[in-house]
Amino acid sequence: MKHLRQLEDQSVYIFREAYKHFDNLAMLWSMGKDSTVLLWLARKAFFGHVPFPLLHVDTSYKIPAMIEYRDRLAREWGLNLVVGQNKEALAAGMNHEMGRVVCCTALKTNGLKQLLETKGYTGVILGVRADEEGTRAKERYFSPRDKHGDWDFRDQPPELWDQYKTTFPPGTHIRIHPLLDWTEINIWEYIKLENIPFIDLYLDKGDGTRYRSLGCAPCTTPIKSTAKNVDDIIEELRHTTVAERSGRAQDEGRGMELLRKDGYM
């Protein structure tokens, strides 16, 4: 439990730095387990309040239960929800059969970029974790994006002690990653510790499968699992050697490096 409080203290510090330094701050919310913990940590940092809007980039291909969960929580917790969608691409019939990287770029990366541009957000909080996949392992807590929203991973700014990059040229923005040091198990341990409500797609409801990572319905597959509660999930993760995102098609080949360089989450 002590290790979870250490992670919590660090994340809360990052949240408060972000809130202090960015006038136009927003947080991405994908309704997944990481987003859920992220939202909880925001309430920890701001003593029950969430003093910035939550952004959801809706690809229209999300699992319907996720959208229901989103709208319910937004109502119950009084969240300021902002939904963005790349309507142009959808009207032109964009879907994953046109190519996964192509589809993710159009509906998620470009959807996000459009949203950021319209609203002029200069700081965006995201729930990415270093243990998810290789390029995220190389992220900073405060990670700059250029005028086109691109990530220059060859030349990342230094990050020393608790001092983060909070100044940036006009037209650019900073991605803020409070969960960078958390692992998948830490996320579930914390959900248990704090008794945080989460979407039940992560649990086996009798058919012997559950989702381990949530994304768009066509590109996310459930795993075989009989985990029926958080304790079961933690126990399962302690013994598994299967990668968390093995059910996420976008990770195949060099998908994530290409996507993230262009501004994907």
Binding site: K2, E17, K20, K44, F47, H49, D131, G134, P157, K165
Partner: protein
């Protein structure tokens, strides 16, 4: 071997550093493979990519995620990886060894609680081996082991290992760094990583994995005196919460806090938290917390809360060891943003004492700039006084970064306080504020009643520039608008309060300015906007303005500089008036500045909206 999967009780951040190509990523890959910590299919996936690209598989490719890193066979940026071993969760930071990427190495090492430093047995001690060893020490990573890699390439010979140990120990000894262990390994073949080497029977010390297990959590900072740098002040609901991360010591409800450099004091009323039952009543080092106070005092981000008997240092100058990572060199005379704990303040390099060559620790003197990747000893001077500690006593509040334009371009540790000419006055102000007797009417009450905060408007400049005229006009305008303002003229002090001073003493600025400042301090305590000029000090107005500023601190001083021709105004001037003065326009300018600084409300008649209490 399989990883032990007991529940983690703690996290430990480890960084792997060393010269390029000495095998850091390989060591990491091997460690994961041999402890069964790799996800299924990871090894196979990387092996397949290697085969496709027609090259030999290397363990390093497991964590060098970028295409470019794999193609060039080097690590470009720090990667964080995780594994569990014997009830502890390790976060392992693989730092790049190429000198091009020193800033990435430093970013990695700054997060670490312990380090493994790799040296290639065949190549021996190289440039970056020394630089990294020195920087670990500078960054405060005192717990580390030296791993001598590629022992297979030197026939596993003990004399080679002993030679490297001797040479490197001597180098580290120059700055008193002592590694916990030297370990001979072959990361490629797995000798002494997770498993004991069969070929190096002459070595009986711990393996790399055992060494990691031997690293402890850093000594409890909770035992030190309290340091709580204020991160922010929230008022989302009825509670006014001061937040921050305790960097040293502990606190509890009822404790008396002193905030530096404002010298404000109050007791902790509550410790606030979300979803914690029952409500906490204490906090300790490492925690991000929130407290409410028993008195509505105005404190802001950047101040350091402590107890009254263990105050932080206060000055506008200190000596430091700095490493520079900026694209542009660090130069004297240029402005940089200094960030110490949560305080941000403009600063400049007052002098560069020496540049240290990390290769042989040779010192080069008489330089006017510090280039990228160099380490230097220098004195920094800040625009306003800052609270800090010496890094030998307090780690977190004794280190800082420098921001050049938009980027963090360097960092350092504070080695020595440099006394400045305001030291005695600052000490006087501190003693006086700590002993200040308050009535029942608070500063907050007066501000609400008057509709404005107290402030000092100080006109500086040479003779006959219109300071006195503007001061009179401003006082008149403020009072006509219903403000409580008073013109403090130095002449009135000269013949009364200063009557005991000799002619010689009256000719010197020091004592006159001290008395003037103390009178202004009393007047602002009554809630007035004090309008004054430096006329009694003649051409010594720069010195006098500094002294007044120190004594009335933390009441806002709005400095207005008037001159007939363009000249350098004193530091921290808010309004500059040059050439023939249009006094109506000048008055309006000062009023705007008073509004901007939150002294006056935006509109006359309106009660000011106080973001915080005063």
């Amino acid at each position: 071997m399989t990883p032990t999967d007991t529940k983690p009780s703690e996290n430990l951040n480890i960084v792997i550093v060393g010269h390029v190509d000495h095998g850091k990523s390989t060591l990491l890959g091997r460690l994961y493979a041999d402890t069964g910590s790799l996800p299924d299919g990871k090894l196979e996936k990387v092996q397949a990519i290697c085969k496709q690209q027609g090259k030999e598989f290397e363990y390093a490719f497991l964590f060098d995620a970028f295409l470019e890193e794999q193609e060039q066979g080097i690590t470009i940026d720090t990667a964080r990886t995780f594994f569990m071993w014997k009830g502890r969760q390790y976060i392992i930071i693989d730092a790049p060894g190429h000198k091009e990427f020193l800033k990435n190495m430093i970013s990695g090492a700054a997060r670490a609680e312990a380090a493994l430093l790799l040296i290639d047995a065949l190549e021996g001690v190289k440039e970056q081996s020394k630089k990294h060893g020195y920087l670990l020490s500078l960054l405060g990573v005192r717990q580390f082991a030296v791993v001598v890699n590629k022992m297979d390439l030197v026939g596993y010979r003990q004399d080679v290992f002993d030679g490297i140990e001797k040479e490197y120990r001597e180098f580290l000894g120059q700055f008193k760094a002592v590694p916990s262990q030297f370990i001979p390994v072959s990361a490629k073949l797995g000798d002494n990583i997770a498993n004991r080497s069969a070929t190096m029977s002459w070595y009986s010390g711990p393996t790399v994995l055992e060494t990691l297990g031997g690293f402890g959590k850093e000594a409890a900072r909770s035992e030190q005196p309290l340091r709580l740098p204020v991160q922010d002040v929230y008022k989302f609901d009825a509670r006014r919460i001061i937040t921050g991360r305790i960097t040293a010591g502990q606190l509890k409800v009822g404790d008396h806090l002193v905030f530096s450099p404002s010298n404000k004091r109050a007791n902790i009323r509550t410790v606030e938290a979300f979803n914690v039952e029952p409500q906490p009543t204490a906090g300790q080092a490492g925690q991000s917390i929130g407290v409410t106070l028993d008195e509505q005092i105005f404190v802001e981000r950047g101040e350091i809360a402590s107890t009254q008997d263990h105050l932080p240092q206060l000055s506008t100058a200190f000596r430091a060891n700095v490493f520079w990572l900026g694209k542009r060199p660090l130069e004297k005379g240029r402005k940089y943003l200094l960030r110490v704990a949560t305080k941000e303040v403009d600063c400049e390099v007052a002098s560069i004492h020496r540049i240290i060559d990390t290769m042989d620790l040779a010192q080069q003197q008489g330089s006017s700039a510090v280039s990228k990747n160099q380490v230097a000893e220098l004195t920094l001077r800040t625009k306003v006084p800052v609270a800090f500690d010496l890094s030998a006593s307090f780690e977190s509040t004794g280190r800082f970064v420098l921001v050049d334009e938009y980027d963090i371009a360097g960092g350092g540790i504070i080695t020595e306080l440099v006394h400045d000419d305001q030291e005695f006055l600052r000490e006087e102000a501190r003693r006086r504020d700590f002993a200040w007797i308050k009535g029942e009417v608070t500063v907050e009450d007066r501000a609400q009643q008057y509709g404005h905060r107290a402030a000092v408007v100080l006109m500086t400049g040479g003779r006959h520039t219109g300071k006195s005229f503007l001061a009179r006009k401003l006082e008149g305008r403020l009072v006509a608008d219903g403000r409580h303002a008073y013109l403090l003229d130095g002449e009135n002090l000269r013949r009364g309060l200063d009557a005991d001073l000799s002619e010689a003493e009256r000719g010197q600025t020091t004592e006159m300015a001290r008395r003037y400042g103390e009178v202004a301090r009393l007047l602002t305590d009554t809630g007035l906007i004090v309008v004054s000029t430096t006329n009694p000090f003649g051409l010594a107005y720069r010195e006098a303005a500094e002294a007044i500023r120190t004594l009335v601190h933390p009441v806002p001083v709005i400095a207005v500089h008037m001159s007939k021709t363009t000249e350098e105004p004193p530091p921290s001037t808010d309004v500059i008036l040059t050439g023939p003065t249009d006094f109506d326009a000048a008055t309006a300018k000062v009023l705007d500045e008073l509004k901007r600084r939150g002294v006056l409300a935006k509109a006359i008649g309106a009660k000011p909206v106080f973001q915080y209490s005063i």
